[in-house]
């Protein structure tokens, strides 16, 4: 197999040479020259292609994480709704699932994007939210936090607080295991996590101020902007995936035999206890593996972003950079490789979690 692969590599490079095409990854350190509107790290036209790559990967990840969380929350609610004995709730949940999972995602994407842009006003007529945030067809402009000197120490205090809270929780759990009784851990942990940074902030006279956006010329200056492209992507992806998550959740709950729940009721267990100790642990075993597949699918679906101008990895790197450098092989290999790494990492994480909740055979 290795021989075949190396044969392929030699062949490809030979072909490129015959075509007279430059190869290699040297272009990554050249000036990119184009702008990316949404960048989580500093980026300008003078940045390198590699920085553009990092910006694009971060944009993909932030979109995936936001969509994943929303999809999970909505999916669980709708999944529970599908099992509801209330006719209205059940009907709405069923209609949701059947509508959203039967319309192609790309169409939903265009729908949300243009449905959102059309009714929103131009920046000059934007909807003001208490005079500090503004909604227009350029996006939602929010006040941006600006760190002042000393903010680092607050972050440090937060880190120490979290660390101490973990240690305290652990040692109290161990004491309870040993002696059978110990004080509750969470009040102390909460005090550590919130209290330490708060005290530091007071000591350093709150080293953070908010930059309020203001209208200037065509658009808002200052603040931070949630772009309509991002909102449309997150909405479409999460609502679409939620319809699948809902079915997975319903299947998981249905898989728990009703006899067990009836038996638990007969023993006089409260319904909360039944859910926590009987239904959910068994349902999770059924839910987690297909849920993992759905998460991976959502991640791959983020590549549709190019259709509505959201600057994700495919749009920036597989689109603009590929066209500027004409180094199709290197660019596509990087894009594909990155998706592979991200998906493999998520997959590994889910497998680990699955082993934790899986049925332990004795």
């Amino acid at each position: 197999m290795a021989a075949l692969l190396s044969l392929a590599a030699v062949n490809v490079s030979g072909n490129l040479e015959r075509l007279g095409a430059a190869s290699g990854f040297g272009f990554l350190w050249h000036r990119a020259g184009f702008a990316i509107e949404q960048h989580l790290i500093p980026y300008s036209e003078d940045s390198t292609y590699f920085r553009a790559f990092v910006v694009a990967v971060l944009n993909t990840l932030v979109l995936a994480v936001v969509a994943l969380v929303i999809a999970t929350v909505i999916g669980f609610c709708v999944g529970l709704g599908r099992r509801s004995s209330n006719g209205l709730v059940h009907g709405v949940a069923t209609a949701y699932v059947e509508t959203l999972r039967n319309i192609p995602l790309l169409l939903q994407l265009f729908f949300w994007y243009f449905a959102m842009l059309r009714p929103l006003p131009a920046p000059r007529q934007s909807i003001s939210l208490f005079g500090i945030a503004f909604l227009s067809n350029r996006g939602l402009v929010l006040p941006a936090p600006v760190a002042e000197p000393g903010f680092g120490s607050v972050l440090l205090a937060l880190g120490i607080g979290v660390l101490l809270a973990l240690i305290v929780t652990r040692s109290l759990a161990q004491r309870r295991a040993r002696t059978g009784s110990a004080p509750k851990a969470w009040p102390l942990a909460l005090a550590l996590v919130l209290g330490l940074p708060l005290l530091t902030a007071i000591a350093t006279a709150f080293p953070l101020h908010w930059e309020i956006p203001h209208l200037q010329g065509f658009n808002f200056q200052g603040g931070m902007t949630v772009l309509p492209e991002f909102v449309a992507m997150a909405l479409a992806l999460s609502l679409y995936s939620a319809s699948y998550v809902a079915e997975i959740v319903r299947a998981g709950l249905d898989a728990v035999p009703r006899g067990q729940i009836e038996a638990a009721r007969a023993l006089g267990l409260k319904s909360g206890t039944i859910s926590a100790k009987i239904t959910i642990p068994q349902a999770l075993r059924v839910i987690v593996p297909p849920l993992g597949n759905e998460y991976l699918r959502l991640l791959r679906n983020t590549t549709l972003a190019a259709a509505i101008a959201y600057s994700d990895l495919t749009q920036v790197f597989g689109g603009t950079v590929l066209n500027q450098t004409a180094q199709a092989l290197e660019v596509m290999a990087m894009v594909a490789g990155t998706y592979l790494v991200i998906n493999a990492a998520v997959s590994a994480l889910l497998n680990w979690y699955n082993r934790r909740v899986a049925w332990v055979q004795r």
């Binding site: 075509l19 184009f34 702008a35 658009n219 200056q221 259709a307 066209n323 500027q324």
Partner: protein
């Protein structure tokens, strides 16, 4: 299971090997019996599907002309609509014989890319469209504006350079599909919409209220549009280049689709005789028949006729501007057939 996977791997490798050397494009085209052209996905005037389902347009006519020159039959073409970002790979790996797309000739796209530009067949430049209601009269008033564009084009870099050199800021919203860029601009997402002026006119023709929009006077870039071929086949490049030159020289020498038969029989002009293959046997030097250029002109007419049919007075109604012959004050200047 294992064997079939291995068979698949070997198959995949063979495909890699097979798409390797495309040195003799002419032989491939002749053997296949048709010419495969990569074109823009959908743009009025240049490459579009008409109401009868036929793909037509300025770019397509050049594909027809080349097929007529090489195969003697202009109908033997296959057009592959390609997004800008996919087009280079399609040419490089042999998926198409030529890109009669709308690509701008730039340094980076030629040097070290394994591809060559054949000849400039449209001189264009990047412009901006804005809503009349915005009151904007010049690109210099677009400081801070949102601009909708199609990505994977020179558009992004031109805007970056122009705004940078004039110390202005901007917000780019770049779409994979150029029509989505227009739609987003129309929905109010952007203050301006930028593209080559020819494309703005072409795609702008489908705006709902075209009269509410105006193309600003500035042209911020040079956009020499040229077909592309693979660099490793100079013989094929010569064929494409001289077929297109023949269409330009035909206009200069007054050869039209209508009079080409008459001129072939009766013209006393030595260059007309050479172009139409009456004397000098030029086609043979390209590996083609001697009536190659005659076939091309007979099929689609001369450059001016093609322009008028799709972009000029019978088409989009655009002025010929720099796309006039050099002797009429334009930039079109083809070397002599000699």
């Amino acid at each position: 299971m294992k064997t079939s996977w291995r068979a698949f791997a070997i198959g995949a490798l063979l495909t890699l090997v097979a798409t390797a050397a495309h040195a003799a494009t002419l032989d491939d085209v002749k053997q296949r019996g048709k010419l495969v052209c990569g074109t823009a996905p959908n743009i009025p005037g240049y490459a579009y599907v008409d109401d009868k389902g036929v793909t037509r347009g300025f770019d397509i006519e050049f594909c027809h002309a080349l097929a007529a020159a090489v195969l003697g039959d202009p109908s033997k073409i296959e057009t592959k609509p390609l997004l800008p970002r996919d087009a280079f790979a399609a040419l490089q790996n042999g998926g198409v014989d030529i890109l009669t797309h709308r690509f701008t000739w730039t340094f980076a796209r030629e040097a070290g890319s394994g591809m060559s530009f054949v000849v400039v067949y449209i001189y264009d430049g990047q412009g901006f469209m804005v809503r009349k209601s915005s009151g904007v009269k010049s690109v210099l008033e677009l400081n801070g504006a949102s601009i909708c564009i199609g990505q994977g084009t020179t558009t992004e870099l031109n805007i970056a350079d122009y705004f940078h050199s004039h110390n202005m800021t901007y917000q780019l919203v770049s779409f994979a599909d150029l029509d989505e860029a227009r739609r987003a601009y129309e929905s109010g997402r952007c203050d301006a919409w930028s593209n080559d002026r020819g494309s703005l006119a072409a795609r702008g023709s489908v705006l709902q209220n075209r009269n509410d929009h105006v193309i600003l006077p500035e042209t911020i870039s040079k956009e020499p549009i040229a077909p592309m071929v693979r660099k490793n086949d100079p013989a094929w490049e010569d064929i494409a280049r001289w077929t297109f030159f023949a269409l330009i020289d035909a206009e200069e020498d007054g050869i039209t689709q209508a009079n080409v038969d008459d001129l072939k029989k009766n013209s006393p002009n030595p260059e007309v005789k050479r172009i139409l293959g009456v004397t000098d046997e030029m086609g043979g030097k390209l590996g083609l028949s001697n009536d190659w250029a005659y076939n091309a002109i007979k099929a689609v007419g001369n450059y001016g006729e093609i322009y008028d049919r799709y972009i000029g007075k019978e088409g989009l109604g655009l002025d010929r501007g720099p796309n006039r012959l050099w002797k009429d004050g334009g930039l079109l200047y083809a070397p002599p057939f000699r």
